[in-house]
Amino acid sequence: MAEMNGAQALVESLRKQKADVIFGIPGGALIPVYDVLYESDIRHILMRHEQCAAHAADGYARASGRVGVCMATSGPGATNLVTGITNAYMDSSPIIAFTGQVDTYSANTSYMIGRDAFQEADIIGITTPITKCNFLVRSAEEIPRTVKSAFYIASSGRPGPVVVDVPRNTQTESADMDFSDNIEFRGYRPNYEPHPLQVERAVRLLLNAERPIIVAGGGVILSGASGELLALAELLLAPVATTLMGKGCIPENHPLSLGMLGMHGTIASNSLVPEADVLLAVGMRFSDRTTGDVNEFCPDGKIIHVDIDSSEIGKNIRPDVPIVAGAKRTLQAIHDRLVESFKKKERSLWLSRIQEMKKQQEEMVKSERGLKPPRLLAELRKILPEEAIMTTEVGQNQMWAALYLKAYKPRTFITSGGLGTMGFGFPAAIGAKVACPDVPVVDVAGDGSFIMTEQDLASSVIGKIPVTVMVLNNSVLGMVAQWQRLFYGRRYSGVDLGGIPDFVKLAEAFGAQGVRVGSLEEFVKAMKMAIKSDVTTVIDVPISSEDNVFPMVPPGGAINKIIKG
């Protein structure tokens, strides 16, 4: 027990949770906390928009596997976090957002919760549907326990964002603080261990499978189950398709890796999943972008669905074998049971079909000439070391990266999957670089996305957090334009970005480096320079506004009805 004020208790609680960095912006209702941070060893990174603070915390969490922390003042500061919090919620990323709030009690009764005080917003009400949990601190002595709870909930089970709303008076009031409190939740006990009977049922299906396939999602990365996944895939000789969020859970140069599945899935993944007789889906949620028409997704296959969140099981697709448990323990348990009785079968037909489909995909890249994104991204991969972190924005840039920029390790491909937030990639890159300062971090961007959060060039330059932004600049909102080209008779409505800004000048205005490239050779040279530079670099890569991302499945269609271009 120790006597201190709430702000001191909050910072002390963060230290006890080993939080070493906060992405934030101060404001009136948060000044007491910032006063403590003034002399704290916790690094504070001043962002230039609260949305970026949340995305940076998210990028930090995804790159490191630890909880990311962001902070914003009451009212507009808090509401600006909302997109970032929703993004973390949709992609199960563990972040904690601390928000300032007006007083719960005050001698000046016009500055109190519920009185519409200056910069008051009901952030608890606003974030209830987009957080795993949220807390309104009601008195200073609640702070140690609340922060501990927030970290536990954010990082356990299916991870997710937690909001802690801290009224200003609870920051300034003193109390005898107890940091040793045990926390327990009667209504929250995540289960990691699979039920042995369900494992047995899954094993029996897999033993007899002729055409097994594994679909791995973000849950495999979150639970650190890449090793277990690979061991099982190699034992079964089962190919692995991943969701967008699962990218990197198996090295994409592995012979059994099929690449991404779904609307912009690879030819291999999209052709083979509907042909499987047993589909093991692990740590994924059958989102519409992954399944296309659910009835055609894997029509003749038995489906085993492993997820730690029971509400995902049966939500979109009814599995034959549901397993509510962690990916890591479940893959391990299935593997261990299979090893006992499994004899490697000759699946030469299935395996040769896999190789044939993968070849088709690779030929699509070879035929490219000039400054075409698939080729550029293949070159980028050659330049980057295996452990380099790649983030993306949303739209064409993202799908090109998902298809043509291979990930070899988990936590090296960071993208906004569920919410599809344009502007995510750049602040996420900043967060990832803070988490992993020794590896190059590259944001694959489009001009439409980058302009949404480009102001945080300031935080990357001033904060000495060098990242590389590769702008695939086609002067349009490319994915919408692609849909308009393919499905709306080329009626390009509201997508022309007018060819501004000049990204080289923009970068320079912020004290970053800007480079425009006109050929593949120039691109390679600029990228090699950028990833070694100690200042953030923006590489402007002009591409055609007519380029489409292929392969593609029209929305709502069966995933094997692929448009190849």
Binding site: P129, L136, Y188, S311, G314
Partner: protein, 170 residues
Amino acid sequence: MRKREKMYTISAIVEHKPGVLYSVSNMFRRRDFNIESISVGAAEQKDLARMIITINGDERTVEQVVKQMNKLIDVVKVSILDPESTVARELALVKVNTLEARVRSDVINYTEIFKGHVVDVAHDSLIVEITGDSEKINAFIDLMRSFGVKEIARTGITALSRGMRSVRME
């Protein structure tokens, strides 16, 4: 194209603290599940409340509702109550116009038949308290409409499993 819909009664034990009703009801709205009735009150254990929620839906929807409720941190336990072994009751207060003496005695007679109570008497109206399952209350209210119902307040259904079966914290 609604599948076989019927009324389900869900019993949930939740943390008895501010914001929990909001997070539950907000989840229903967010997931496009429609609450027919909801009643909340303190449960047998300190700091816990019991929520009884009735919803109209097919089996799969209701299963999903239960899973989504379970996912909420402040929801401790959720069950679908089996109508065969559940006592379900609702309370209604019905204010009836009774300007004429004959009407007044009719209302009192019906109240006795329905095992209700007259809980307030004014010059021109009575308030009747009636409990039972929803069908019984609907039947009583229909009868009263012929006299002129001024106001109705209903609690929504509350329910418990019979005998040894319980939805509670161990």
